[in-house]
Every structure is written in C-alpha cells, then in structure tokens.
C-alpha cells in the first residue's frame, strides 16, 4: 500500500443543522480506486460535497488530509486547483455558457495559465473521441437541456480535460445505458494510472465490473460500517444491505453520539 493521499479522520458534518456524517474514517492511497456504497440517504453525496467544499456542509469535527495538507481550509476552487475533482450526481445547469467556453476557462483556472487554443482543441477532440461524444455537443450550454446520460458524460469530459489526481465519481453510472456505461468506464480507465486516485460512489456492481476497486466501503447512517475487498460488492448485490448492517452496523442507531 502506498502513502495515503486522501485521509478522512472522524469527520462530522451537519447540513441545515442536522448531523449527517457522524465520524467517517476513510483512506484512499495514491493511485488506488475505492468504491463507496451505502443505502439512499446514508450520506455519500454529503461526503462528496464536503470534500469539495460546498458551503452548506459544515464540518463540526474531524479532519481531512489531502496530500499531507489539511483540505478543509481551502475554498472549492483551491481544492480543484490542488487536483481534486468531483463528478456530480446532479450536475448543475448554467444557461448561456457554452461547454467549450466553460472548459477553456476552467482549464485555465486549474492550470493557472493560458492554454494554447491548438492544444486545447486537440485535447478536447481526443477526450470526446474516447467518450464517443458528438462534436456539436460542446457548443451547447452547460448541462442545459442535457439528458441524464449526457450530463454524466459531460462530467467525464470535464474530468478528462482537467486531469485531476483524485476523482470522486458520485453515481456517475446511474442514468447511463449499457453502452454508455461501458464507454464512460473505459474513459475513466484511460485516465487511470499510478497518479490518479478514484472514489466511486455507486449502488451497483455493473460499473465495478469495468472499473475494478481495490477496496469497498459501506456507509450507513453517516459512518463507514465496513471496509473490505471487491468481494463485498458481490455480497451486497446478492443479499442487499440488511445482512451487512446486521453484521457490522451500530447496535443502537438512535444513539449516534455514544458510538465511537
């Protein structure tokens, strides 16, 4: 196991005054791919937003180290510049801003310098080829009128262009048809390497057949109740969450503060 790249330690987060994450511990070493699973409402997206710095998600305790530095003091744009990327479960629409214009400005911001038009075009073209995206796609307004699957592909296009060191994919697989799932997975795999860490949030085994995780974590009511190998995915797929929760879940769900 290589040095930890992302280290989440006893993270507590509240949203609108309600505690959603109640002591999350999770480590993703550099270059590894991990899966994060868990029932609806368990706090997976909350964790993703918190890592990216959404102002609504307030950290009340715990810490997050990213490449050895504290992450939590950084603004979202600083986090992006430091190599963190979040593919949104629900990408936001920005009318009037074309994809291509947005990608260009975003790339310039993340790199901290102007990107030559020619290089940009070339990168864009090859990324779109990998994701099998139509050329005219980038002239459309950002996520405006995109189908569910198109939005997810657009997120992957952004990831391909920004080349992060750590990507959190929040249910990138949901809403994709079978072919799109394969194409998007191949896209992610083409970006993978010893540098790229990936945290895949998902409900299904399908995507994990393409993108193989080294570790699987199960989040339940704001805590990681079990971490294991890829075999955990098969078990979840066959048995559902009930058994796992019975086996690993807290004895008393309603006394979150007592459990440590």
């Amino acid at each position: 196991m290589s040095e930890p790249s992302l280290l989440i330690d006893n993270l507590h987060v509240t949203v609108e005054g309600r505690e959603i994450l109640r002591g999350v511990n999770l480590t993703v070493p550099r270059g590894e791919t991990h899966a994060l699973m868990g029932p609806n409402g368990s706090g997976k997206s909350t964790l993703a937003y918190t890592l990216m710095g959404h102002p609504k998600y307030k950290v009340t305790a715990g810490k997050v180290l990213w490449k050895g530095q504290s992450l939590l003091d950084l603004t979202p744009d600083q986090r992006a510049k430091s190599g963190l990327f979040l593919a949104f479960q629900y990408p936001v629409t920005v009318p009037g801003v074309s994809m291509v214009n947005f990608l260009r400005q975003s790339l310039r911001a993340v790199r901290g310098k102007e990107v030559a038009v020619r290089d940009f075009r070339k990168d864009l073209k090859s990324a779109m080829d990998v994701l099998k995206m139509d050329n005219q796609f980038v002239t459309r307004y950002l996520n405006d009128g995109f189908s569910g699957g198109e939005k997810k592909r657009a997120e992957m296009l952004q990831m391909a262009m920004l080349k992060p060191e750590m990507a959190i994919l929040d249910e990138t697989d949901s809403g994709l048809d079978i072919d799109a799932l394969r194409i998007v997975s191949e896209g992610v795999n083409s970006l993978a390497g010893p540098e790229l860490g990936v945290l895949i949030i998902t409900h299904y085994q399908r995507i994990l057949n393409y993108i193989k995780p080294q570790h699987v974590h199960v989040l339940y009511r704001g805590r990681v109740i079990v971490s294991g190998g890829p075999e955990l995915v098969g078990r979840l797929e066959n048995e559902g969450y009930d058994n796992i929760i019975k086996e690993f879940g807290p004895a008393d769900d309603d006394a979150p503060q007592a459990a440590a």
Binding site: M52, G53, H54, P55, K56, T75, P76, D77, R79, A80, K81, F85, L86, F88, P91, V92, V94, P95, G96, V97, F102, Q105, S106, L107, A109, V110, Y141, L142, Q158, L162
Partner: protein, 468 residues
C-alpha cells in the same frame, strides 16, 4: 488638458470618467424660458415651422405633470440645467477641422480606431452639437443619408418636416415635450427604397458639461424594402451633481423594410436617463430594438413598436443592470394596430448591491387586430438579498383572436451554481461573471462582435464593483 476624474462613489478609476476643460463658443444660461428656445432655434438658423414646433412643445412641457409612476424624478431641478451648449463655431467637415481637444476625447473613446475597422459613418455627439461627422463614400453612393439631425433639417427639410414628431408627438409625455422644445443633435438617417446597409451605422454620445441636459433627437426612415442597423453607444463622465439625458428616437419602417436599433449605454450613476423611443412598422416591415442599459441613477425607457399594417413584426431585446443606488425601469411596448402582426419582447435584468430593476411592458391589440401573436419573456437575476426586481406586464387585448404568451422568472445566483463552477477551479468572482454573462448571452449574441465584448466587459466591471 484632459483630466482623469475619479469616481467619487466607488473610489475606482472610471475609464471614461475623464472630462475636458470647457471651451465653448456659446453657452446658454441655466433654466428654460421662451426666449432661450427662440435663441436656440435662431442660433441654428432653423425654419419657422421648427421654431413654432419647439414653442408649442414647450407649452406642453409646462402643462404636463411629472409622471407619478415608474422611478422617482422629483429630484430633477429643471431650473438648474443648461439646455443648449455649442462647443465649436462650426461643425467639422473633415477630421482635420475637428478641434484638438475634442479629438482627444474621441481618441479616448476609440472612435478613429473603430472607424478604421468598419465604421460606416461616425456621428459623435459632443455636447449638444454634432461636431464631427463622416460618411463612408459607398454609403453616399447608395444614396443613404446619415447625418446629424440639425444638418438633416437644413439639407433634407421636406423629409424631416413630413416625419418629425409624427411618431412621438410633442405632447406625448413631459420629457418628450421637453426634448421637442430644446432638442439638439442626434442623428438623421434616410435609407432609399431597396437599399440594404450591411454595416451598422454608429454614433457615440457623450455628456460633458456639468449639469448639462442632453436632448438628442434621432429620426430614421427606412423606405420600402430597405434595411439599416443603427448603433448608439454612450459613455458619460462622473460628476457630483445630477444630469438629465432625455432623448427622443423616432423610427419609421415602410413596407417590407427592416430597422434594427442597438443601444449600449453606460451613464455615470448620477444621470437621469428618460428616453422616449418609438417605431412605426408598416406592411411586412420589421423593427427591432436591442437595448442595453447600464449605469445611470434612474432609467425610464420603454422602446415601442406600433404594428400599423398586416405582416408587421416588432421585437425588443433588452438588458438592464442596476447596482447600488440605481433604478432601471425599463421594458417595451408593442401596439398591434393591424391584424396578422407579431411581436416578441425579451427582457433580462440584473440587480445587485441593493439595486432595483423593473420590467414594465405593454402588449396592446386593438379591436380588429385579429390573428395577432405576441410573446413576452422577462427574466430577472438577483445577485443578493438586498436587491429588488419587479415585473409589470400590462396586457390590453380588445380582440379575441389574439395569442399572447407571457413568461417571467426571477432567480437568485444560486449557491449550487456557484459551487459547481468553483469546483471546476473558478474563483467566486469568476464564477459569478460566468453566470451573469451566460444570463445575458441571448441578447449579447445579437450585438455586433465588439459591442458584445464591450457589454461583457462593462458588466464585469460593474460586478467587480460589487465584490470590492
């Protein structure tokens, strides 16, 4: 000679906030009476009908009450305004005739530069009088007249007499009356039948003297089957006392003609901008107002199209932006006089820092104006909780076979939108700019390239003012 002025309100350099020391041949006194109006008319050597027109308008001005709706105009001190200033003895005919200090101002506004590129003609209003004016030769060959209004009156008296004040009569409203009484400068454009002017005609306007009212008057006539695009851009220097800008613009699009009139204005935030703009569109004619209002203390402006005959189409695309202490009361009027006419109103407004935007629009269809289609869409964007936006979409439909659609949205720049863009590396300010520019994009894309760039730049400037 030209002194860089500081924007007292914000403490930042206002790019166009320089002003020249005054060097005027003729300067009328403050305030208004009949004699001043006679003096103005005599000074301009106008025909008698115009002098009478002015005097009649002045009576209306005195009799009309101030509007009690829209913005607050009660602070305007009509007695403290210069109604006429003539900066140089003669109008410059060539660039060489233009006085040096005025050239400097134009340099700062970038006019010669712009002209080299693609200006079809330049008519820059400096004070009340047009001092420099040029028309590209091929325009002249096509028979297109593009001149200042005073010259238009002198050289094309018959046409002017036929149309002047027919679209906006001198008793239309108090500010139109005032303009009719004391108007000076503005443009006169006449496009012969069938002539399509491919390059936009542009005019730069500028207020310079302290407390000086500016009362330009523009008349554009497009003969059957012709096309013209007129662009006005305004910048104004910053002064501590309030200024009044009250223009009147009349457009006439005859059968099958098309007129597009584009405005980008950025008045300093002490200016009252009270403008009456109206167009008549005859059979199968199209009139489009593209109206971008930034700056000013109060803008009240509702470009109108009267759809006079079947097949006429009217369109208003407007952007308004209001910051602290500013009120943009803008909108549009579509008056369907004839059947089978169509209109579209698209309004976008942005309010920030406690600014206020109002959309005020009217769609009217007279009895007998059947098979009319009208679509109104107004979107407001609020940058914060202190800012305000209101919508007053009046409908006055007398005929039953009329299809009017109205859609209005008010949105706040959302945390989620900002967060999404910031998660892609943009700072909060960059993300805000991107959202705002996207918001006005449907209008910006209708502008000539460099005006679109200018609009984005101005908006960005305004936005950064709110951050600091």
């Amino acid at each position: 000679m030209a002194v860089a002025a500081k924007d007292v309100q914000s403490g930042t350099d206002y790019k166009f906030g320089f002003h020249d020391e005054e060097d005027y041949v003729f300067k009328s006194q403050r305030g208004l009476n009949e004699q001043i109006i006679r003096d103005i008319s005599a000074h301009k050597k106008e025909p008698e009908w115009m002098t009478k027109f002015r005097l009649r308008a002045y009576k209306h001005f005195l009799n009309r009450p101030l509007p009690n709706w829209g913005g607050d105009v009660s602070d305007i001190d009509f007695d403290n305004i210069f109604y006429y200033i003539k900066p140089a003895a003669e109008q410059g005919k060539t660039w060489g005739d233009v006085p040096e200090y005025i050239k400097e101002t134009f340099d700062k506004l970038g006019i010669p530069e712009a002209e080299r590129k693609f200006l079809a003609g330049v008519s820059a209003q400096y004070e009340s009088e047009v001092v420099y004016h040029s028309i590209r030769e091929d325009l002249e060959k096509m028979g297109v007249v593009f001149t200042d209004m005073d010259t238009g009156l002198r050289e094309h008296g018959d046409v002017v007499k036929k149309y002047f004040g027919t679209v906006i009569p001198p008793n239309d409203n108090k500010f139109a009356s005032l303009n009719s009484a004391v108007w000076s400068g503005g443009s006169f454009v006449w496009v012969p039948a069938g002539v399509k002017v491919e390059v936009p005609l542009q005019a730069y306007f500028r207020i310079n003297a302290e407390n000086m009212g500016q009362f330009e008057r523009t008349l554009i006539i497009a003969e059957p089957g012709s096309f013209v695009h007129y662009v006005e851009g305004c910048t104004a220097p910053i002064y501590s006392t309030d200024s009044l800008h009250s223009a009147v613009v009349e457009l006439i699009a005859l059968e099958g003609a098309r007129i597009r009139y584009t405005t980008i204005q950025n008045w300093s935030n002490n200016v009252y901008n009270l403008v009456t703009k109206r167009a008549l569109a005859y059979r199968d004619a199209t009139v489009e107002w593209v109206d971008c209002n930034l700056g000013s203390k109060l803008t009240m402006k509702y470009p109108a199209v009267y759809l006079m005959e079947p097949g006429a189409h009217g369109e208003v695309l407007s952007v308004a932006m209001a910051g602290a202490g500013q009120h943009q009361d803008a909108g549009a009027k579509m008056v369907h006089v004839a059947p089978n006419t169509t209109s579209i109103i698209t309004s976008k407004s942005i309010a920030k820092g406690g600014g206020r935007t109002t959309y005020r629009g009217l769609v009217k269809a007279y009895n007998g104006a059947h098979d009319v289609k009208s679509k109104v869409r107004c979107d407001a964007l609020l940058m914060d909780d202190e800012s305000q936006s209101d919508t007053y979409p009046y409908m006055d439909i007398e005929d039953e076979k009329v299809d009017v659609g109205h859609e209005a949205t008010v949105s706040k720049v959302g945390e989620d939108q900002l967060f999404y863009l910031m998660s892609r590396g943009l700072t909060e300010a960059e993300a805000t700019n991107m959202i705002v520019n996207g918001f006005i994009e449907p209008i910006a894309k209708e502008l000539p390239m460099e005006y679109a760039v200018e609009l984005n730049r101005l908006v960005q400037l305004e936005m950064s003012g709110s951050v600091g």
